[in-house]
Symmetry: C2
Subunit: 219 residues, 2 copies
DNA sequence: ACGACGATGCTTACACCGTAAGCATGATCT
DNA sequence: AGATCATGCTTACGGTGTAAGCATCGTCGT
């Protein structure tokens, strides 16, 4: 602590606090994040953070908003009949953003995002899909199903206990202890990597979903 | 604390500890669970629990195992060509179990399950689906995609901050503050409940996924 | 120019958390 | 009967989120 005199500014801002928190979580994992450590990262006491964030929970909500924002800025709204392509971009963009900040993923999975910006984007998407002829309920279904699937799939992909760096897809570690007579299929999975390619599995499932919705009759 | 003399048994067991923890989480939410409170619930000091559980993390893993167990006991393995029906039962059974213990859901979403029992079940499923003619990788894809989608969708369904009892699907609360001119579609969603029926949305998406996989060529 | 004021960051304090270490007691076995 | 072991309790430590109050700054109205 550089012995800053009280009253001297450290240039703290809600923005800077969130940035630092995101950096910290990316670097050390979600469970390691504490107000004191975050303060230290910013050269500030823990309680100083409370001038810019009401409490830790709100800070975590802010992190989720931040990541969602990066996921969807640049992604426009679906225009015309290209909503299947747009949905694909939506899902893949969301997945990329979540993978880029794995520490925030458990938060994104748990906390509903209701920031004004998020609502505004949803509104825009729904509006665009309606003008493309889709019923409102169907449009909402598609977006929600793709979002929840993406979150669920990415959770499994990032897997491992939150702050831990396990690299191996969680199955390989147990490979040695598996009785070859009892677990022939699991061992073959490990050996051939069949069904362990998250990328193509995700792409395929997303395409199936979109095609399935596209094939539905329009009531 | 009923002043039990040291050495006197309280009948503690890993089973009883897990049961109590599950009850506590169901009743008070995950964030409220602490070793001390769980001990109190069992008429015991916190440290006594450590005789039956190595640490809190292991206890949480145990909770996930417990719920997964209840989800899949009774669900047999797919036999013959009925794997689509089996997959449907798999997804709906998982969803029911997760909804029955919403407090455990964030844990189930975060921690990979690698208990011997879980591996044994996976092995059985894969074996059965292979004898039905499915490639190993395809079988694994389907199970994983359905599982991750179910978890993601149920997370959104249960939603709200973990320990909280908000009943309203998180959108209604903001309805009043929404500018009708700016958010016509979201307001129509709230008014008509179009696309807010989690049950039928889930069923539909699961059916789309299964039908999509069934329509895939077998390599 | 000056005094009041609001914003900022620091200090102190409290209740709670997970858990390491060691002890007392009863049950069980030889 | 004596030794051993499993069980639960006690104490203690370092960490957490955050309420309350204080010291100091920049800013602004007069």
């Amino acid at each position: 602590m550089p012995d800053r005199r009280a009253g001297a500014k450290a240039g703290l801002t809600r923005e800077r606090v969130l940035d630092a928190a995101l950096d910290y979580v990316d670097a050390h994992g979600l469970p390691a994040l504490s107000m004191r450590k975050l303060g230290a990262q910013l050269g500030v006491e823990a309680m100083s953070l409370y001038r810019h964030v009401p409490n830790k929970d709100a800070l975590l909500d802010g992190l989720v908003d931040r990541v969602m924002e990066t996921a969807f800025t640049g992604l426009g709204a679906p225009s015309g009949d290209d909503w299947p392509a747009w949905l694909r971009a939506f899902a893949h963009g969301l997945r990329s953003a979540l993978i880029a900040h794995p520490g925030v993923l458990p938060l994104a999975a748990t906390r509903p995002v209701n920031s004004p910006d998020a609502l505004r984007m949803s509104e825009g998407w729904l509006a665009a899909m309606r003008t493309a002829g889709l019923p409102l309920g169907r449009a909402l279904d598609m977006v929600n199903v793709l979002a929840t699937f993406t979150i669920g799939h990415t959770l499994a992909e990032v897997g491992q206990t939150p702050g831990h760096e396990g690299s191996e897809p969680d199955l390989d570690q147990h490979a040695a202890e598996l009785d070859p007579a009892e677990f022939p299929n699991l061992l073959e999975v490990i050996a051939t990597r069949a069904g362990l390619d998250f990328d193509s599995r995700f792409t395929q499932a997303v395409d199936i979903l979109i095609a399935g919705y596209a094939a539905l009759p329009r009531p």
